[in-house]
């Protein structure tokens, strides 16, 4: 019995299992790098982007699943893009909102922001949720563009809204005065 265990380890179950386990486990770092720097599939939680994401948040617990591009997300941000960024009030939290204003724009703010008009400082963006119940720049002010970690490019689920996020077709709300020195 002992002899069989000794010679059989390499080709036995345990030997083969460890071999394949290590082989597949070494693929974890590239996967993590891919998720962090190329693209990631993630869920949208919360009603702040109603009705664009989670339009049935009152009726079911199903959440939208989206594809987020992580490839240089903070370069060349345009109005209308949907971005993910780290919460300026809580560095561990991630937030999904739409870019409504970029550096230099003058925004007419909504409650509860204390000033009626604000100019977005250099290197910052103004983000807002599409829905009513949202904590966005009207709550914490313009955010540094460096906080942006990704852009939502595609909706993957549910099937009836599958496809590219056509952010360029979004009509901006009134009250955004675009910076004049930028080329449109």
């Amino acid at each position: 019995m002992a002899a069989r265990w000794g010679t059989g380890i390499r080709n036995g179950f345990l030997g083969q299992f460890s071999h394949y386990l290590i082989r597949y486990a070494t693929w974890i770092p590239p996967l993590v790098v891919f998720n962090g720097w190329v693209a990631e599939i993630t869920q949208i939680n919360g009603p702040s982007m109603y009705p664009f994401f989670n339009p049935h948040h009152n009726e079911s617990t199903r959440r939208d699943i989206v594809l987020v591009s992580k490839w240089y997300p903070d370069r060349n941000l345009k109005r209308g893009m949907i971005v993910t960024f780290r919460n300026p009030l809580n560095p561990k939290g991630k937030v999904v909102k739409r870019v409504v204003g970029i550096a230099g724009d003058v925004i007419r703010t909504k409650a509860p922001y204390p000033h009626e008009y604000v100019q977005v400082p250099e290197g910052h963006i103004w983000v807002e949720g599409d829905g009513d119940k949202t904590k966005d720049s009207n709550y914490y002010g313009p955010i540094s563009a460096c906080l942006v970690t990704g852009r939502v490019t595609h909706i993957l689920s549910p099937w009836d809204r599958f496809g590219r996020v056509k952010w360029w077709e979004h009509n901006l709300r009134p009250g955004i005065k675009k910076a004049r020195h930028l080329l449109e």
Partner: protein, 146 residues
């Protein structure tokens, strides 16, 4: 083919190490004299302290400058955490409070430093790590204490 995969995996592992464990970067500029020389020193940065994890007043941190358009990095000392009062050179005369989720950074060389007195509080989420050692021009490492 196998070699390609292995190289790829090694690169990914190294990248993750530099992002989440430790990284090194050259430092330049007069804003942190006498703690750091103007040029020629390398900083050893602990990535465990990313996003302001476990960071305190008095720590030296590497962060992304909030008003930069190219993700420029800065190294300064934290002088205020959320809730602390800042009394010198604030936009509000008489001093203000550091907002939630942010920190107030100031360089050691006050006369030659662009820091929170210029661009306001830095969100903790922009902190890349804490400097815990430096490699001096004579290649000797030196631990940085609070």
């Amino acid at each position: 083919f196998r070699v390609l995969f292995s190289t790829f995996k090694l690169l990914a592992f190294t990248h993750l190490f530099l992002e989440h464990v430790l990284s090194m970067a050259p430092a330049s500029g007069p804003s942190m004299l006498p703690t750091f020389e103007v040029v020629g020193e390398w900083l050893v940065v602990s990535r465990f302290h990313k996003y302001g994890n476990g960071v305190n007043v008095g720590d030296l941190v590497v962060y992304q400058i909030p008003i930069s358009t190219s993700g420029e990095l800065g190294v300064k000392r934290i002088m205020g955490m959320p809730g602390d009062y800042v009394l010198v050179d604030t936009p509000v005369p008489g001093g203000g409070t550091v907002p939630e989720g942010h920190c107030w950074v100031v360089g050691d060389n006050l006369t030659a430093s662009r820091d929170s007195r210029t661009f306001g509080p830095v969100p903790l989420a922009l902190i890349r790590g804490k400097v815990f050692a430096k490699i001096q021009s004579n290649w000797l490492p030196k631990l940085i204490r609070n």
